[in-house]
């Protein structure tokens, strides 16, 4: 259930409406009285310094584990774009105890799943197994994190595969637009790393680069483990201390990050492609998750373009004018200020109209206060939908991880409720003025430029 394209299954159901985009990050508000008093979970420091967040759930005999490791793109030394992702993806491709095939065979045989991957601030590792297979699962998880061998053959294979995948992504106009947008907004900052940057670095990548990065970043003090499921505290603490015992702290500092470029006035990038729709990305640098205005920005963005069919952009561009199937805005609020982005697809000929309407809506939310009803509706959704944000084990694990990453505290639901409750129309207008910059936008348009005839 997502708004991603359904590539291949012809009879996969078509979702006519778009999904309400996850607003700002993972968390939303919590109002259910019955649950509000219960803590989300427990925070425990393990023997090796790793932080465990535990939510016991005994209804189903299964265990879901999510790990976040401070080993994403922002941890990579300058000049090595893509190193974080390839390192993470090679963890499961062979250890001192198992070949890549053995790892896959073992996890598949118990009907579980094990995966590792890169990210911007964090790399991730996740495991899901039946309760009865918890030892096998933890043995595999700890093995891939502690004992990867980074065999040269596996590196070569992964480089080849990644280069082919990066090439394939050029088929997708929304990815092409997103790449150009990230580069224009973030420049040399790691959030601006593009597929092309990665593709030009990978042929130069050495095994030593990977080993050095792995040794510096894959350490217990850089790791958070969230466990949700059918285990007791005593049991899981003992198991984690056993399986992760050999892991040692190192305390390597993070590299300094290049600042994003100053954008003085709106920049328009036109990319010509033989497509039926213009893919438009508009925006600029936004806020970090730890910005105290986060909650006011969340409410403001809901009204502007984050709130699905309750948002102004959707109402104007899709419902009233029929110009797009999907239009949404969002703030990627991470460790560092991420992007504020409005993303839209419309037929080439409508690109000018859609850009004009978007700019109009951004200016309107800055110039006029939102209505009482809009504010009340936004707050009602953001508070009332909280139970849905923790209705599966994976969602709870994700939420626990966010709470630790952004120092939100396990009483976050209660705090968050009052933060949202306190937002006023003035707050919404204030943050709209402060964090939206319609005259200093990056506008990327991937389109058949002859048909789009951009005025911008």
């Amino acid at each position: 259930m997502q708004n991603a394209k359904f590539g291949m299954r012809n009879n996969k159901p078509l979702y006519s409406k778009i999904i309400v985009i996850a607003l700002l990050g993972v968390l939303s508000l919590f109002v259910s009285h019955a649950m509000a008093a219960e803590p989300l979970g427990k925070r425990i420091i393990l023997d090796n310094g790793m932080v465990l967040l535990l939510s016991e759930k005994h209804e189903i005999p299964m265990v879901t584990i999510n790990m976040a490791l401070r080993a994403g793109s922002t941890s990579v030394p300058a000049g090595k774009p893509g190193l974080a992702s390839i390192t993470a993806s090679l963890l499961t491709q062979g250890t001192t105890r198992r070949s890549a095939n053995q790892i896959q065979q073992e996890i598949d045989f118990i009907g579980g799943s094990l995966s590792t991957g890169g990210g911007e601030d964090f790399a991730s590792a996740s495991l899901r197994v039946l309760k009865k297979d918890i030892r096998t699962g933890l043995d595999l998880l700890s093995d891939v994190l502690l004992n990867p061998v980074f065999d040269q053959k596996e590196i070569d294979r992964k480089v080849k595969e990644t280069l082919a995948e990066l090439r394939r992504q050029k088929e997708e106009p929304n990815i092409v637009a997103g790449q150009a947008f990230a580069k224009a907004v973030f420049g040399d900052h790691p959030y601006g790393r593009t597929n092309d940057d990665v593709a030009s670095y990978l042929p130069k990548l050495t095994r030593q680069d990977i080993v050095d990065f792995y040794s510096a970043r894959y350490t217990p003090e850089n790791s958070i483990i969230a466990v949700v499921g059918d285990v007791s505290e005593k049991e899981i603490v003992a198991l984690l201390n056993e399986y992760f015992k050999p892991w040692r702290r190192r305390g390597t500092p993070l590299p300094a990050l290049a600042p994003p470029p100053e954008i003085e006035k709106t920049v328009v990038q036109k990319i010509d492609k033989d497509v039926a729709q213009a893919n438009i990305d508009m925006g600029h640098v936004g806020i970090s998750r730890e910005n105290p205005d986060f909650y006011a920005v969340m409410v403001m963005n809901y009204i502007l373009g984050g709130g699905g069919f309750s948002s102004r952009l959707m109402d104007n561009i899709r419902d009233n004018k029929g110009l797009a199937y999907d239009v949404h805005s969002g703030f990627a609020a991470q460790k560092e200020p991420g992007a504020f982005t409005v993303a839209i697809q419309t037929k080439n000929e409508s690109a000018n109209d859609v850009i004009a309407e978007t700019l109009k809506e951004i200016r309107r939310i800055q110039e006029e206060p939102v209505t009482e009803k809009e504010l009340a509706d936004a707050k009602a959704y953001l508070s009332g939908s909280f139970p849905l944000r923790m209705d599966t084990s994976a969602k709870i694990a994700g939420m626990l991880t966010s709470i630790e990453i952004y120092h939100l505290g396990l009483d976050y639901p209660q705090k968050y409720l009052s933060m949202i409750k306190g937002i006023t129309r003035d707050d919404v207008q204030r943050v709209a003025k402060k964090y939206l910059h319609p005259d200093k936008m990056v506008i990327v348009v991937v389109a058949n430029q002859e048909k789009a005839k951009l005025k911008y």
């Binding site: 045989f109 082919a164 039926a276």
Partner: protein, 440 residues
């Protein structure tokens, strides 16, 4: 390969709950049929204070005809455009104001609508869904602009996605007499020529209580909810029987093949074999076979084409068995730069032939079964997918098939796997689609 990762039927199937200990999957579903023919399936889940409410109509592109393809999906869009009581734009806004999420989807065989909420908001669904089952406005002005939205949707999903465009063509060749030949979203020219009258007629014909199933999974009391459903939906009059779809795809007399040239970076190869539905007992062996071919990175297609031979960027197999009429079992792969569609196609058939010629190893068979069982248990984690499965099965056959699903999978032998491979995976029985990239 995000876009190639399917919510496989297997996975979907597996997402449904069963008792953890194993056999005798009592799904704890309460079934009632109201006097007006509306079927109600309720399953209590008290793990979290949330509920998902779904209404499934047994209508999809299968019920359409050439010239009006995509009508089911167009109507689905219009179902959000209001009734007399709830004007335009208010449906989703009402749901969101109550902290809920809503959406809908259309397939070949069904159209479904759903809301997910905190458990105490379920009355909203009863009110909204009973209202739009009978009182849809279908405002002419809204219809005009929504038709444009659907065209944009088609541009996004199909026109600008080379693999989707190829699969659409492949399906149009795989079925000659049966409506599965046209895409759920419809051909562009048909979308442009729908009239409001088409929609009114379609709505009156198919949106009837006797052609619908309500599925609710979550934190509620069955007795109380059943009474509420009877109150909200019971007064809607039964409609006439819906027209039957009688089309039958004839036996194919030889391989069918389609080439699609599109601006793209990499070629892709799909081969679809005509295969039976879940109503046929062979479906269980084919599900196991699907797992052997495609479930996890130790499965045959990934291991052979992607990992060992390195001729494919992605590879897998998919089986559309939760289908009203027979559909396809297909294998597919994306071609690595420097490799050819010919060698990739041959490698796919080599794996198919192995299944026909050599019995699968005991451990491999057991692995596929373990994957099914584990996923079945893990599926209890999500109310939405439990409801989704009940709705899908009920719309194409019967939800009761799910109760015996794991037992039927357990009973599959390696002889069964070999037999169904030989029976269905023949060259004459397949349709091949090739995406040939052209530079723009």
């Amino acid at each position: 390969m995000k876009r190639m990762k399917r919510l496989s039927l297997i996975v979907l199937i597996l997402l449904l709950s069963a008792s953890a200990s194993g056999f005798a999957q009592n799904l704890n579903v309460t079934e009632r049929v109201l006097p007006n023919g509306l079927k109600v399936l309720l399953k209590e889940e008290h793990k979290a204070p949330v509920v998902t409410f779904q209404v499934w109509y047994k209508v999809g592109s299968r019920n359409e005809c050439l010239g009006k393809t995509g009508l089911s999906h167009m109507l689905e869009h219009m179902m959000f455009k209001g009734t007399k009581k709830y004007g335009p734009k208010t449906f989703s806004q009402t749901v969101q104001r109550n902290g809920g999420n809503d959406n809908a989807f259309t397939s070949h065989d069904y159209t479904a609508y759903f809301e997910s909420f905190a458990a105490d908001r379920i009355a909203i669904s009863l009110d909204l869904e009973s209202d739009r089952m009978q009182n849809l406005l279908l405002d002419p002005k809204d219809f005009q602009s929504e038709r444009d939205v659907v065209k944009e949707e088609r541009r996004m999903r199909t026109e600008d996605d080379p693999v989707s465009a190829m699969v659409e063509q492949m399906m149009s060749v795989a079925f000659s007499a049966h409506p599965y030949q046209w895409p759920v979203i419809g051909w562009m020219s048909d979308i442009g020529n729908f009239t409001r009258d088409d929609l009114v007629r379609y709505y009156r014909t198919y949106y009837e209580p006797n052609n619908a199933t309500i599925v609710v999974v979550g934190d509620f009391d069955t007795k109380k909810l059943l009474a509420q459903i009877e109150k909200s939906f019971g007064k809607i009059p039964r409609g006439p029987e819906v027209p039957k779809v009688t089309a039958v795809e004839p036996k194919h007399l030889g391989e069918r093949r389609v080439i699609v040239k599109r601006p793209a970076e990499l070629p892709a190869v799909f081969a679809g074999y005509n295969a039976p539905t879940i109503a046929n007992p062979d479906a269980y062996a084919l599900d196991v076979l699907q797992g052997i071919l495609s479930s996890g990175k130790s499965s045959r297609l990934y291991k052979s084409l992607v990992y060992e031979k390195q001729i494919a960027l992605y590879a897998g197999g998919d089986y559309d068995d939760v289908s009203k009429d027979p559909n396809l079992f297909y294998v597919y792969a994306g071609v690595m730069p420097g490799k050819t569609t010919d060698e990739v196609e041959k490698a796919l058939y080599d794996e198919i032939d192995r299944l026909k010629n050599d019995p699968v190893a005991d451990e491999e068979l057991q692995k596929a079964k373990n994957q099914v069982e584990a996923s079945f248990i893990m599926g209890q984690d999500s109310n939405f997918y439990q409801a989704m499965l009940l709705g899908q099965y009920e719309s194409v056959a019967s939800w009761k098939l799910l109760e015996k699903y794991v037992d039927n999978i357990r009973a599959v032998t390696k002889e069964d796997v070999m037999r169904v491979a030989k029976e269905y995976f023949t060259a004459d029985n397949r349709t091949v689609g090739i995406l040939v990239p052209v530079k723009q």
